[in-house]
């Protein structure tokens, strides 16, 4: 028994060739390992597409059913803040892509800089989002918690929005459906914000690891795959922005 074990180990030791410490033994090469984890990351992102896809589908169906309520509820959103947040998120995707480049080029200082910039922009996005959420709370536009139909029963009661859109009063049953818009608004932007919070948490961890010298020794898989996640969250916002803020202006 002990004899055969030592023989087996001897065979393995012979076949076992030199490879970087970050390469797992069951992969033939670093590139095979990279491709396999990259594939796995994309499979995860596909489940995320389906997850957000359900929310987007619900939004489109409800918008079609309760069109007048969705249009007037959408007029309550601030396009300035929405545009600013889109810009912030797009630039953060750029800094993340540059972070991946820095890791590939083995530039430790640059990697820490770009990861930190991405972190700051991510937090800035959440800051702007919280300003918007606060406004919804103040205006009683949080269904279930702090809700009132009055902005939709009597649009003139909200002079700031009224002077721009001149919305007509909605019938009580339709005005109540504005709550469905805001429910979906909070569900979609809230789920997006949760993804941002998870991303920022992982970024914090990565910045500390990068300072310790990780990711800049040729092993870029972690940074690359986190980048995929971050860009995916950016793409979700690229669709949320026009659907929630823009398409109901006319």
């Amino acid at each position: 028994m002990s004899d055969s074990t030592s023989t087996a180990n001897g065979v393995i030791a012979e076949v076992h060739h030199e490879h970087p410490s970050y390469q797992r033994h069951h992969f033939e090469s670093v590139d095979q390992q990279f491709d396999a984890t990259n594939f796995a990351m994309w499979l995860f992102l596909l489940t995320e597409i389906m997850f957000f896809g359900g929310l987007f589908t619900a939004y489109l169906i409800m918008r079609n059913w309760y069109y007048p309520a969705f249009v007037e509820a959408s007029h309550q959103l601030n396009i300035g803040w929405g545009t600013a947040n889109t810009g912030v998120l797009i630039v953060s995707s750029f800094t993340m892509a540059m972070g991946v480049w820095s890791a590939e080029m083995r530039k430790k200082g640059m990697l820490i800089l770009f990861l930190s910039l991405t972190w700051i922009l991510g937090v800035a996005f959440l800051g702007i989002k919280s300003i918007e959420y606060h406004e919804k709370w103040v205006k009683h536009h949080v269904p279930g918690l702090h809700w009132s139909d009055s902005s939709f029963l009597n649009p003139a009661s909200d002079p700031e929005v009224y002077k721009e859109y001149h919305d007509k009063p909605l019938a009580p049953d339709m005005a109540a459906k504005a709550g469905m818009y805001f429910f979906l608004y909070f569900a979609m932007t809230g789920m997006h914000a949760l993804h941002m919070i998870i991303g920022i948490s992982i970024l914090t961890f990565m910045i500390f690891r990068a300072r310790a010298g990780a990711y800049t020794t040729g092993h870029v898989t972690y940074v690359e795959n986190f980048g995929l996640y971050w860009h995916f969250v950016d793409i979700v916002w690229i669709f949320l922005f026009p659907l929630l803020y823009l398409i109901s202006r006319h």
Partner: protein, 127 residues
């Protein structure tokens, strides 16, 4: 492992596996910069377009296509394509990754499309 050793091991690996080493393409910062500028221009464009009434197309009585949401979604799809191809490196990825991404979008569009054709035609002919 020191940085020097890591470098040496990596180079050894590269020599061992040259045909694979070609696959890991490093995208240049110039491309990233061009893409981020295109994305910001697209954002400006979609906001600008939302302030203009682009009109509608009466396909049939009771069936109208509004151009504003179509333009907004077309710009969003273009932005998404740029992010997926360049920031997410799909343009430089293996065929397996390309196929995976394509399958994901196909499945999403099939599910979404079939759901929409159902819901949007339930009152067909009753208007």
């Amino acid at each position: 492992m020191s940085e020097h050793n890591g470098q040496a091991a990596h180079n050894g690996q590269a020599a061992h596996n040259e045909e694979h080493e070609q696959e890991h393409h490093i995208v240049s910062p110039v491309i990233y910069l061009a893409i981020v500028l295109a994305l910001l221009v697209g954002t400006g464009l979609t906001v600008w377009a939302s302030y203009i009434d682009l009109g509608e197309w009466q396909i049939a009585p009771g069936l109208t296509l509004f151009w504003n949401p179509v333009v907004a979604l077309a710009i969003a799809c273009t932005k998404m394509t740029l992010v997926v191809l360049f920031f997410m490196h799909v343009k430089y990825s293996t065929k397996l990754t390309k196929l995976t991404v394509a399958c994901g979008f196909f499945t999403f569009i099939a599910l979404m499309g079939m759901t929409m054709t159902d819901y949007f035609t339930r009152a067909w002919g009753r208007w």
